[in-house]
């Protein structure tokens, strides 16, 4: 399965991914239209600072996803494509925030008024078969790739290096 990976050395913190994500989840699917919509389109990726670096974070679609275990409504589930999604499952999201409470990445939003948890659902792909955040990234800090064990290790070493700065 392909994953969205971030190379924090390249991330400028420009938030293009956030805007692209929100636009891709709008009705009009374009920036001008999106800002005019009554329900303001909502991003599901978040650019954070960790130490001196910027990191864009969205749902990792974990193998053993704590949000699926925690969902009391049976809404959060694994799709046939291996994604973690709280729409289109057996149950309907009731806005209890159990998933928000257990997501260690903090990337599930609580839309309190709508009683709806919102997260990366990858319903933003175009003909290029890349997510909107990846397409929008001007420095290719975000990549959509198949992660093998080797790159997993390399990623870990990189994250460990950041860790020494921030944690």
């Amino acid at each position: 399965m392909k994953e969205v990976l971030i190379n924090a050395e390249r991330c400028l913190g420009c938030r293009s991914c956030e805007i692209a994500c929100a636009v891709a989840h709008s009705d009009s699917k374009n920036l001008l239209g999106a800002v005019g919509e009554t329900d303001i389109p909502i991003k599901r990726i978040f650019v954070h600072q960790a130490g001196k670096r910027n990191i864009a974070l969205s749902c990792r679609h974990c193998e053993e996803a704590p949000c699926i275990d925690a969902c009391i409504a049976g809404a959060m589930h694994r799709t046939a494509d291996g994604l973690v999604d709280n729409t289109g499952g057996t149950g309907e999201c009731s806005g209890c925030w159990m998933c928000v409470m257990v997501c260690p990445y903090g990337v599930i939003r609580s839309e309190i008024d709508r009683r709806l948890a919102l997260k990366c659902d990858r319903k933003c792909m175009d003909e290029s078969a890349e997510p909107a955040c990846v397409r929008a990234c001007p420095t290719r800090a975000l990549k959509f790739v198949v992660v093998d064990e080797f790159s997993r290790d390399r990623r870990q070493r990189f994250l460990d290096a950041i860790g020494n700065e921030s944690v």
Binding site: H48, D69, M101, L159
Partner: protein
């Protein structure tokens, strides 16, 4: 290989699903005293409120059992386990032979003992069928009394109000609601959320007796302090106790709940247990407590499923306090030990409350009310129980911590990518 599972809720169903993935050829029988496919137990207040029906809170469809080749025997009670001969006896006499067994029998509400508590309009709220009965009765009801200040009671009270019951009173023995989850200030925010829809609270007392009308029907209740409140129906939420009788009668070890080892196996070889019926060790406090959370039941169901299917997997001591909810407009989250700690950090803003409890520079618990975004990052730190660096602790206290701050720790853990 035939694996029998008693219980068709979070733990039982997750175990069945897990076993099927690991062992495509295993025979799986799920036996439940409730009828129909599994439903989301935590959502039964929505049935009471009239917002959803039983299929509307479905957790698995009938099709699921066919797809996973699970033999579902619903609406049947298991009367005994013969651990020596590996046999279950069902009510009615039928015998089922098993190679391995999972007991996921859940828990039952604590029954009240005051005079009149056996009247038909006095309910506990644990099953979908109870919720349906209360909903029916609530149609013609002008007043209802709910006993208990816990989550189930408050959800029931809110649902009754939503259903259209004019007067809903909640009787709370403790000084504030949600004693296990919240402190006085955060409970105040949640209480306001409930009083704003017209629910009334009576503190420091309990129910003493039911007062019947001329035809024997419930008319009002008397409180321990002598006050009387009109009540067409009563819902009792005084907690639950594990259903451990089957294991007890079969000779297995029980304390507060069924005792299991780190593989979730009971003292009876080949018999595992998971969910609300077992006792676990809290990872923060080290206390032996009854496991009583949907989330933990799912987790345990998966681990037990692996072990039942022959893939040995340990279950580490869980965080047993993990609650989140929203009644009206105030979401709240409570994780870990929110009473203890040697250092507190409290933030209060307009409609927002956050309290962090530290012990020895480790985050041991927290409360969030009004805003709950990124609560999971805090939960993750409670689970890790690592000493916090000064900058990270500052970010926690200022409410600025994000997943990016703890990424290195997360990716080191197994399971989570």
């Amino acid at each position: 290989m035939h694996i029998a599972i008693i219980g068709n809720s979070a733990a039982g169903l997750t175990a069945a699903r897990t076993i099927r993935k690991i062992k495509p050829s295993a025979g799986i029988t799920v036996i439940s005293d409730e009828s129909g496919p599994a439903y989301a137990r935590c959502l039964i207040p929505e049935i009471l409120a009239g917002v959803r029906d039983i299929p509307g809170i479905g957790y698995a469809t009938q099709q699921f059992y066919q797809d996973y080749d699970i033999n579902l025997r619903s609406g049947i009670k298991v009367s005994s386990i013969n651990a020596v001969n590996h046999k279950l006896k069902l009510e009615g006499g039928q015998v089922i032979k098993y190679d391995r067994l999972l007991v996921a029998t859940g828990a039952s509400p604590v029954q009240p003992g005051w005079p009149g508590s056996d009247l038909p309009s006095v309910f506990t709220l644990r099953t979908a069928s109870q919720a349906v009965m209360i909903r029916k009765m609530a149609i013609d009801c002008a007043s209802a009394v709910v006993e208990g200040g816990g989550l189930v009671s408050l959800k029931a009270a809110y649902a009754l109000k939503k259903r259209g019951v004019k007067d809903v009173a909640v009787i709370v023995r403790s000084p504030h609601i949600l004693m296990k989850q919240l402190d006085r200030d955060s409970a105040g925010l949640v209480e306001n959320d409930l009083t704003s829809v017209g629910i009334k609270f009576y503190y420091g007392t309990g129910l003493a007796a039911a007062i019947q009308g001329p035809r024997g029907e419930l008319q009002s209740v008397e409180l321990e302090d002598g006050r009387q409140l009109p009540a067409g129906l009563v819902v009792i939420g005084k907690g639950v106790q594990p259903n451990s009788e089957l294991i007890r009668n079969a000779g297995g070890k029980i304390n507060r709940g069924i005792l299991v080892n780190e593989y979730l196996e009971t003292s009876l070889p080949g018999i595992y247990a998971a969910g609300d019926c077992i006792e676990v060790t809290d990872s923060v406090t080290g206390a032996q407590v009854v496991s009583g959370l949907w989330t933990l039941a799912v987790e345990q169901g998966r681990i037990a499923g692996c072990n039942l299917a022959g893939q040995a997997r340990k279950y580490p001591p869980p965080l047993t306090r993990l609650n989140s909810a929203q009644f009206g407009s105030v979401p709240f989250v409570s994780v870990g030990d929110v009473q203890g700690g040697d250092e507190l950090a409290v933030y209060q803003g307009a409609g927002v409350y956050r309290k962090l409890c530290f012990r020895d520079n480790r985050l041991t618990g927290f409360i969030m009310a009004g805003l709950v975004d990124r609560a999971g990052v805090y939960t993750s730190l409670v689970k890790q129980a690592k000493k916090l660096s000064a900058p990270l602790k500052d970010r926690l206290i200022n409410g600025k911590v994000t997943g990016a701050d703890i990424l290195p720790i997360l990716t080191r853990q197994g399971g989570i990518q």
